[in-house]
């Protein structure tokens, strides 16, 4: 996890707020550093994490995690981390016998109707086990990322329903958190992506949006991060919004106010 980002969000592993949906969004840049941040954040906070990783392999996340001070292999062996490796298990569907529905069962269906098997997988992974060590704090669901599901042919409503059910189960019933990454293609013709992004924004409590700089690529400033605190229900003031610029280094990310990059000062 990146300590500077924790300061910005006023969060720390020992005081993670329960029942929150955090939406990560990236536009014209790669927002996966936020996924690595939250993965290591919640592992360090001693939470039980279910990670639906559809984009990269386990070893990729493990290598980055080790730079940030967590070992995914150890966490998986201890039972703290349940990892669904999409790239590998997608192939398993075709070579297994008929039985219980595979989480990625929608890949076999001509018209992918619902993500219920995936939801069942998440629910079983995060359901508290009575007899085992109840050492873990609240459950956390991490998804990287939801736009891949759209590309694989799942409808927008099905993805929204999946997150709806996850929210009902993980956030409301189990008092856990959800973190999901969505890409903003910026393409005016991609209506499904827009509907997905807006639909999730309406449901989330915190929206982190990583954007590329409007002026193009820069060696010292890799992008801009907009943080929007939303409270869907209580009548607080309009959500606070802050904007920072960042630079990704080998083991950390440094944040600074707009225009105040150390390279420029």
């Amino acid at each position: 996890m990146f300590p500077e980002l924790n300061d910005l969000l006023n969060a720390s592993p020992d005081r993670a707020e329960p029942g929150k949906l955090t939406l990560l969004c990236d536009a014209e840049t790669d927002g996966s550093f936020l996924v690595h941040h939250f993965l290591s954040f919640y592992l360090k906070a001693n939470c039980k994490v279910c990670f639906v990783a559809l984009v990269q392999s386990f070893s990729h996340y493990n290598i980055v995690g080790q730079k940030l001070g967590v070992s995914l292999t150890t966490a998986r062996e201890r039972g703290q981390l349940v990892f669904l490796e999409g790239l590998r298990s997608a192939v398993d569907i075709f070579f297994r016998a008929e039985g219980k529905a595979h989480p990625l069962q929608f890949l076999r269906e001509a018209k992918a109707a619902s993500l219920q098997p995936l939801y069942e997988f998440v629910r079983e992974a995060l359901e508290p086990v009575d007899q085992g060590e109840a050492a873990w704090k609240r459950p956390v669901l991490l998804v990287d990322d939801l736009s891949v599901l759209l590309s694989l042919g799942v409808g927008v409503v099905a993805v929204l329903d999946f997150i709806h059910y996850c929210r009902a189960c993980v956030c409301c019933r189990l008092q856990g958190n959800i973190v999901a990454l969505v890409h903003d293609s910026g393409d005016a013709e991609d209506e499904e992506s827009d509907v997905l992004l807006n639909g999730l924004s309406h449901q989330s409590h915190l929206v982190l949006r990583a954007e590329g700089l409007a002026t193009g690529f820069c060696r010292d400033v890799h992008g801009q991060l907009r943080v929007l605190w939303r409270t869907p229900s209580p009548p607080a003031q309009r959500g606070r919004s802050l904007t920072f610029q960042y630079k990704i280094q080998d083991k950390s990310v440094s944040f600074f106010a707009k225009g105040l990059s150390p390279a420029v000062l």
């Binding site: 619902s114 059910y165 309406h202």
Partner: protein
């Protein structure tokens, strides 16, 4: 604004966006209806019952009937706890509710229903919902049914949004500037012209509405008490002010190109032979003094 929203009955459409959320306003209106003694039915699809009831006092909560479509709307858990008929069944059941007194139905949210039901079915059901007061066979006094629908504008194309808008008697579009929220209210009543109003408001923690009169741009922003306004005219390296003597000298100065009466006199008096100035000229060795007048050939 409140009376005009809940007065005539029919569908009130609350259009919100990601930046300006509308659920607080919906809850404020629900509380208002409950405080007036109406029964309130809430069809909750997007938030849990606990979250929706949060912030309400016990009186409001006792009048609120929450139809939970949040926990298991599509019957994935197969436990039989889901409401029968799914979302459409619940909506149709609300249409046939009878009972004394006015009723308010809050739909949270119409966007969810629009994503899961065909637009035409939803519109027909909404029409039936809001027209309960005009049943021809009913001899009892007309009960007003208020339907409050929350719609997230960005999730739908212009077609469904305009369709719902045409069904609505009142449309409230939420926006704002800075920290202040505003509601653009469009009211359509039969045999009247549509009326527009922009109302600035704040919602207090107990979900009561605080209406502000004018736009917040008219009121000056209060200066931050911690930072004192800096006087830019202090510590200058040049003099910005004039002393009294300097002011008098400045006022009495005649400008060079101003034609005053003194100047006129001076010009006129010059021809009286007063030799006011002489020109002394010593020609150099190289000067070529040509006595000819170069203007001789001009025919003046």
């Amino acid at each position: 604004m409140l009376e005009s929203l809940l007065g005539p009955g029919g569908l009130v459409l609350l259009r919100d966006s990601v930046e300006w959320e509308g659920r607080s306003l919906l809850k404020a209106l629900v509380r208002r209806a409950a405080l007036r003694g109406e029964r309130v039915h809430v069809l909750g699809c997007e938030v849990s019952e606990e979250e929706f009831r949060e912030g309400f006092d016990s009186g409001t909560n006792s009048r609120l009937v929450y139809h939970d479509l949040f926990r298991d709307p599509l019957n994935w858990s197969n436990t039989g706890e889901a409401l029968p008929g799914g979302p459409l069944g619940v909506l149709r059941a609300l249409c046939t509710r009878t009972g004394p007194g006015p009723v308010t139905i809050a739909l949270d949210s119409l966007s969810w229903l629009l994503l899961h039901l065909p637009c035409t079915t939803l519109c027909q059901t909404l029409h039936a919902l809001s027209r309960q007061d005009s049943r021809p066979d009913d001899s009892s006094p007309v009960e007003r049914v208020h339907v409050l629908g929350l719609l997230h504008e960005e999730l739908h194309g212009p077609g469904p949004v305009e369709t719902l808008s045409s069904l609505a008697q009142t449309e409230v579009t939420l926006s704002g500037s800075g920290d202040q929220a505003s509601a653009h209210i469009l009211c359509r009543r039969p045999q009247h012209r549509p009326t527009h109003k922009i109302q600035w408001f704040t919602i207090l923690p107990d979900f009561s509405l605080d209406l502000q009169g004018g736009s917040p741009l008219k009121s000056q922003p209060h200066p931050d008490p911690r930072t004192h306004p800096v006087d830019p005219t202090s510590h200058l390296t040049f003099n910005l002010h004039l002393s009294k003597k300097e002011k008098e000298a400045k006022d009495s100065l005649t400008l060079p190109f101003q034609f005053s009466s003194e100047k006129q006199q001076a010009l006129l008096c010059r021809g009286l032979g007063q030799a006011t100035s002489h020109i002394f000229y010593e020609p150099d060795a190289y000067d070529d003094l040509d006595q000819e007048d170069p203007d001789d050939d001009l025919d003046i």
